[in-house]
């Protein structure tokens, strides 16, 4: 995993941050204030999550009059999904290797007679 992917994964790994992300996807574009209405944590907490999400490139902000509005960056989100899938695939490869090694070790240890009878 590259550093930016690690950053991405950490950014979306936190459950309440995913919740903020989810809300943003549903609402299109929203301010920290309006997002805070829909989550059981404070606006300050929402703002902190938005900072992390922005740092990972998952959301972008723009100023409209006196409000700051946030929007999801779809490409980065897909990249995060892929990074996660890669992590899982990596473990699948390791488990496959363990399976091959253990089964080979077991076959070798088996008495020849048993092996020939099967």
């Amino acid at each position: 995993m590259t550093l930016t992917e690690e950053e991405l994964v950490s950014a979306v790994a936190e459950p309440s941050r995913r919740r903020v992300l989810d809300l943003l996807i549903r609402n299109g574009e929203a301010s920290a204030w309006s997002l805070a209405d829909h989550v059981p944590f404070s606006r300050q907490a929402v703002s902190k999550h938005l900072v992390v999400l922005e740092g990972a490139g998952l959301v972008r902000r723009r100023k409209q009059r006196r409000e700051v509005l946030y929007q999801v960056q779809p490409e980065r989100l897909h990249q995060a999904t892929r990074a996660m899938a890669d992590l899982a695939a990596q473990w699948d490869r390791r488990l496959d290797a363990i399976k091959r090694l253990a089964e080979a070790a077991h076959a070798e240890a088996k008495p020849r007679a048993t092996k020939e009878s099967t």
């Binding site: 994964v9 950490s10 979306v12 790994a13 936190e14 459950p15 309440s16 995913r18 919740r19 992300l21 989810d22 996807i25 549903r26 299109g28 059981p40 944590f41 992390v52 999801v72 779809p74 989100l77 897909h78 995060a80 999904t81 996660m84 899938a85 992590l87 899982a88 473990w91 699948d92 390791r94 488990l95 496959d96 290797a97 363990i98 399976k99 090694l101 253990a102 089964e103 070790a105 077991h106 240890a109």
Partner: protein
């Protein structure tokens, strides 16, 4: 816990003791995990895993032969591994008959920030389907939107 958890499993046609040796002996680990593994497999032991000319520290958490083996890894060299700076990997082995083993691995603690347990609990309820399901849903929502 509601953090990101990767969970995979595989069925192996070998007795649980054989699988145990494969996942815990450093020489064997070097065949499926890192290029080279320096590690004493006992709780609290600190080791190092080499990937090419790079690598990282690993600290053994628990060793319960032949059913459970866990460690933390990926933390900064000069730090102790804790939640927030490292990932926790746990293998559980269960015998299914004399010659078959179910091997499960979970990797967790990808998150950086710590949250109160009550909040984590609540989100665990919300995300029972698991992390990948959730992200898949996000992606679907996004596609529906564009």
């Amino acid at each position: 816990m509601a953090e990101l958890v990767i969970e995979r499993e595989i069925l192996i046609e070998a007795p649980v003791e054989v699988v145990w040796r494969t996942i815990t002996e450093p020489d064997q680990m070097a065949l499926w995990f890192a290029d080279r593994v320096e590690l004493t497999v006992e709780p609290g032991a600190r080791g190092f895993m080499y990937f090419g000319d790079q690598g990282g520290p690993v600290v053994v958490v628990s060793v319960e032969a032949p059913t459970r083996f866990s460690f933390r890894w990926n933390h900064p060299l000069e730090e102790d591994p804790v939640v927030g700076n490292s990932m926790f990997v746990e293998f559980t082995l269960s015998a299914e008959g004399d010659e078959r083993t179910r091997l499960r691995v979970t990797e967790r603690d990808h998150e950086l920030r710590d949250w109160p347990d009550t909040e984590k609990q609540r989100y665990a309820e919300d995300h029972r389907g698991g992390w990948s399901t959730h992200l898949a849903r996000l992606a679907t929502l996004l596609e529906g939107q564009s």
